[in-house]
């Protein structure tokens, strides 16, 4: 692994982080820092935006322009930032509750507009910060504090949602495979337009303990066991992919980007 000067990016006065021992979010954060370093972005030009939940704390730990917003609205705040200053590299960190329950509408519409921001959705399939309530990505049958007899709702395939809405780049990785995850993040950051990376990140505290994955290593093993690279998944029957985590680049296309369209409009109006 390439050496990265993490001290350059972490806010020394604000670490250690509040995440539980064994939480996947620390790996997700480290991987993101590595990806930013690979991009060679100036710290002044990076803006990191989050909502509420365990993922919401991420921007506070990194030495960028950082914004910790209201529950579910990070993408809407980020849209305002990007539109007011197109030079900023805007990265949203959100979670499954924040990003596809209370904030789902903003995810859909940012993808539709193809606004040039990157959304990293750290999916731990539970509401961790509030102690383990069922989320839109909790698998059917799994237990949560608000699903004591097992979840009786189907869960979201977020990547399919973002694809249908119009996202330009969609990928999925896990914190079990940070090398692949870093590559996916770099690709997402490099992409002009709306890019989206779903990061499967274990929550041993609020999810694992209730679902026969009592330790952090057990959760990591579970991520590993369920991961299938996209190339292999394409050759499998849909039924065989039930409960699997398909990883890699799931979609990559080149729709015209929102601010490019708008800038052209402004140039035409002002030139005329």
């Amino acid at each position: 692994m390439r050496a990265v000067d993490y001290d350059k990016y972490l806010r020394a006065a604000h670490v250690p982080h509040i995440w539980c021992p064994g939480c996947g979010h620390g790996i997700a954060l480290k991987t993101m820092v590595r990806a930013v370093d690979t991009m060679g972005w100036e710290k002044n030009d990076v803006c990191m935006v989050s909502g509420i939940g365990c993922s919401g704390r991420a921007p506070g730990y990194v030495d960028f322009n950082s914004l910790h917003t209201t529950h579910g609205r990070a993408i809407a705040f980020a849209s305002g930032i990007k539109l007011a200053n197109n030079n900023l590299n805007v990265v949203v960190v959100t979670g499954d509750g924040d990003g596809v329950a209370i904030g789902g509408n903003h995810l859909i519409h940012a993808a539709r507009r193809n606004l040039d921001i990157t959304v990293l959705l750290w999916n731990n399939t539970i509401y961790g910060m509030t102690g383990g309530q069922v989320s839109p990505t909790t698998p059917l049958g799994c237990k949560a504090t608000t699903a004591p007899f097992g979840n009786y709702e189907h869960s979201f395939n977020i990547a399919e949602l973002v694809a249908a809405a119009g996202g330009n780049f969609i990928a999925r990785g896990t914190v079990h495979n940070p090398i692949q995850l870093e590559k996916l993040m770099v690709q997402a950051f490099s992409k002009r337009g709306f890019s989206f990376v779903e990061v499967m990140s274990p929550c041993p505290t609020a999810f694992g303990r209730r679902n026969k994955l009592k330790s952090a290593p057990a959760m990591m093993q579970d991520l590993k066991d369920r991961s299938i690279p996209i190339a292999k998944a394409l050759k499998m029957e849909p039924d065989d992919l039930d409960g699997k985590i398909v990883t890699g680049v799931l979609l990559d296309r080149d729709k015209q980007e929102y601010t490019d369209i708008y800038r052209n409009l402004v140039a035409n109006l002002r030139g005329a």
Partner: protein
């Protein structure tokens, strides 16, 4: 009208209150508008959708009201002067984000063209039922500044004032305009010709190491340096210290909340704006604001013709409430008639201001009919 250039017309022109708000916002240097269609405020968005791209600014129609409010906070943090416009139901939806802007001290302007409520209510009819929501709509103690124009020209002037106060106090400022002023077409002479510079509170002489985005012991908040200028600070809706980082220290929380309230209280002379008419010899004081105040003025003229000594106290600034100014104006009057297109929301504040020393007679009208001078005159005669 919507395609009109801001500087090309200094008047007189015919314009609605909604259009005047859009023109004034452009004059104030608006760089970013995010909105969502809702009657009776939609013309503000429509007008700006034509003006902003021509001026090189950004117009965006967001997916919902919450997104529009969130986006203007983000846009402001990135350095733009920002605005959103809405009405009753949309104003309700925006409340959480308004509280966020209060706590994070991000300047922005919110126009609420008031229609009949609650709920979907009377979308096309006027009301003044959101004045208390403007004060206490979001949870927790927080500062609020709100203005209310009585006519189109004033909608223009007060919009400029909203931007000015938002920047200087670093707080969301509201323009509460009843549907009558929003939709009435009047002859307007743009009161500000040529250059108009709204204060911009975005630059610091401090180095990034010394800069603090928050300060709790000054008369005015420190400048809010835009994201991307080399000052990599943190903004959070959690209680925070001067650096912007979360703090669960209870003493800090106490200090922060008291600061937020005091920054408006300590700058009342910047914010408070009232009109007194014929109060020198008045024994009856009419209290009215927005379009209702125009009817009150009509009633006052009619009453004076009958020899009744009637005056008017009209707050242009609704919040903070002008308690001291009202109390001083009410010295020596026999009664106050409080006129509102709601069931007595600000009337309670009027009563608080005069501390029981002057009787306050209610004149409340709801249901969507504007207040008529003749109706007020009848009440005056009966006092």
């Amino acid at each position: 009208m919507a395609s009109m250039d801001t500087d090309a017309h200094v008047g007189p022109v015919l314009m609605t209150g909604n259009e005047a708000v859009a023109h004034a916002a452009m004059k104030a240097g608006l760089g970013f508008f995010a909105g969502y269609p809702i009657t009776p405020s939609t013309e503000i968005a429509e007008t700006l959708s034509a003006m902003l791209p021509r001026a090189g600014g950004v117009f965006i129609q967001m997916e919902d009201e919450i997104a529009a409010m969130s986006a203007i906070i983000g846009g402001s943090l990135a350095g733009a002067k920002t605005l959103t416009a809405t009405s009753g139901p949309g104003f309700s939806l925006k409340q959480e984000a308004i509280g966020y802007a209060c706590l994070t001290e991000v300047p922005c302007v919110i126009v609420n063209v008031m229609r009949g409520g609650p709920s979907t209510g009377l979308p096309t009819l006027p009301a003044q039922g959101d004045v208390m929501q403007a004060r206490w709509g979001t949870h927790g103690d927080h500062p609020v500044v709100a203005y209310c124009p009585e006519r189109v020209e004033e909608a223009y002037l007060l919009t400029l004032k909203c931007f000015e106060v938002a920047e200087r106090l670093r707080t969301p400022v509201m323009l509460l305009m009843d549907e009558i002023v929003g939709h009435v077409t009047e002859r307007v002479i743009f009161p500000v010709k040529g250059a108009f510079e709204v204060t911009s509170n975005r630059e610091t002489t401090l180095s990034p190491e010394d800069y603090r985005p928050y300060g709790y012991d000054q008369q005015l908040p420190p400048p809010l340096v835009p994201f991307g200028k080399g000052y990599r600070y943190h903004v959070s809706g959690l209680m925070h210290d001067e650096t912007g980082f979360p703090s669960s220290d209870t003493a800090n929380g106490d200090r922060e909340l008291r600061w937020l309230m005091s920054k408006v209280e300590n700058n009342r002379e910047m914010v408070i704006d009232v009109e007194l008419v014929n109060m020198e010899d008045a024994d009856i004081m009419l209290f009215a604001y927005g379009a209702s105040a125009r009817s009150a003025k009509g009633a006052m003229r009619l009453a004076r013709e009958e020899g009744l000594k009637v005056g008017l106290f009209r707050p242009r600034s609704i919040w903070p409430f002008a308690y001291d100014e009202l109390k001083a104006a009410a010295q020596g009057v026999k009664a106050i008639i409080s006129i509102e297109m709601n069931l007595g929301q600000l009337t309670n504040e009027v009563k608080l201001a005069v501390e029981g020393q002057v009787p306050v007679v209610p004149f409340f009208k709801v249901g969507g009919e504007p207040v008529l001078p003749a109706e007020i005159l009848e009440t005056i005669r009966g006092v």
